[in-house]
Symmetry: C2
Subunit: 203 residues, 2 copies
DNA sequence: TATCGAACGAACAGGTCTGTTTGACAAAAC
DNA sequence: GTTTTGTCAAACAGACCTGTTCGTTCGATA
């Protein structure tokens, strides 16, 4: 029985995304979300049981959007080598960081505010799976013996660029991170100099 | 005219640190801070004009403590090569991450909660200066042509380890970050094989 | 001993917060 | 045409928030 299909929920989520991300979650009350959504409070509580529920939905939605955006980019480069496809993730990150209103990783920010709330923690965990999974999928053909660590390192570099861009208000970090990622990938690639286990300085 | 020298302020800051870091800043009211400090509310407002003032002081104090901890470690290795000294920062980070109650970078967390508050932003900026400054000082003798970018990359990797450890609840990230940092340092080092221990004759 | 300053404690002001309730209304479904 | 469903508006409860006020206590100092 939708007056207009799914608009109320979507409007709430869009407003929540905008306000929560820009201002912080605890700093934005339900009253403001519903006012700027043009939705009655009672209606909101029909769609979301609690504020925490709304927060979790906001995070899941944001995760899905980012995942789709990255996936689109990576799939557009289906013909390129795996390394290039992985690095293109950092190009998307560069775009994101460059957008006005960028304020760091929404999930890191949410984790800062909601340390002990199950629903929110679940939504954060939900987001944390896809990037490693994507790297893992793309790394598949490489078959290096410590891909797991490489993958973790790449995720870390991604997180670091996100955090540094936020804290230092710098737009350059994704470019720098891309170079670090290149380095990580180049070193462990089954390359001409054959020896790719653990970067020992005594080479 | 202190009953016991400086205890009230310090007790407030210790409690603020414990509660704000563990639970989030907005989630902890002044009432709880003063209750657990054993300080009257009116007394607290003598020492700190506003809650934001207390938050900023909490952050500055935490920054100073961490800086001192890292500096101690780095100075203890005054005889080692600059690369080793830089890498030892990641060893300290590993310790920090491994401590019970670790919940990510306090400054990133505060930035998430207080986007538009001058005092808090200043305290965060205050923290953001020392790590690049330390790296810069240690890198001094290396004199590579893009030390600035290397420095930024190292800071990023540090931030990434912090963030990933928090979000993934993993203790391994500082070790992984250390390897990434090794890679960064090894690649841009002027002479890959030179075993010069006393290159840092700055003192 | 008299004075002063630091801290206490408890109430209070004025907001804001989440979440609930109620009654009405309009559109879609039957 | 009646019922169901989604939505609205507004008031309300009860808790919690920051920050202020004010009279009191108590130790140090002069």
């Amino acid at each position: 029985m939708e007056r207009k299909p799914g608009t109320v929920r979507e409007r709430l989520l869009e407003t929540a995304d905008r306000l929560f991300y820009a201002t912080g979650i605890h700093a934005v009350g339900i009253d403001r979300v519903i006012a700027e959504s043009g939705v009655a409070k009672s209606t909101m509580y029909v769609h979301f049981r609690t504020k925490e529920d709304l927060v979790a939905a906001y995070l899941r939605r944001r995760s899905d959007i980012m995942r789709a955006r990255v996936t689109r980019e990576v799939e557009a480069r289906a013909e390129e080598p795996a390394e290039e496809r992985i690095l293109s993730v950092f190009d998307v990150l560069h775009e994101v960081i460059s957008e006005p209103g960028f304020r760091g990783c929404a999930f890191a920010n949410a984790a800062a505010e909601y340390p002990h709330h199950a629903d929110v923690q679940e939504a954060i965990a939900y987001d944390r799976t896809w990037l490693p999974a994507l790297f893992s999928r793309l790394l598949g053909p490489l078959r290096s013996d410590n891909d797991d660590e490489l993958m973790a390192a790449l995720v870390q570099v991604y997180d670091g660029a996100n955090a540094a861009a936020h804290l230092d208000d710098s737009k350059k970090s994704a470019r720098i991170a891309r170079k670090t990622a290149e380095l990580l990938l180049a070193t462990r690639k089954p390359a001409p100099n054959s020896n790719r286990t653990a970067a020992n300085a005594g080479d």
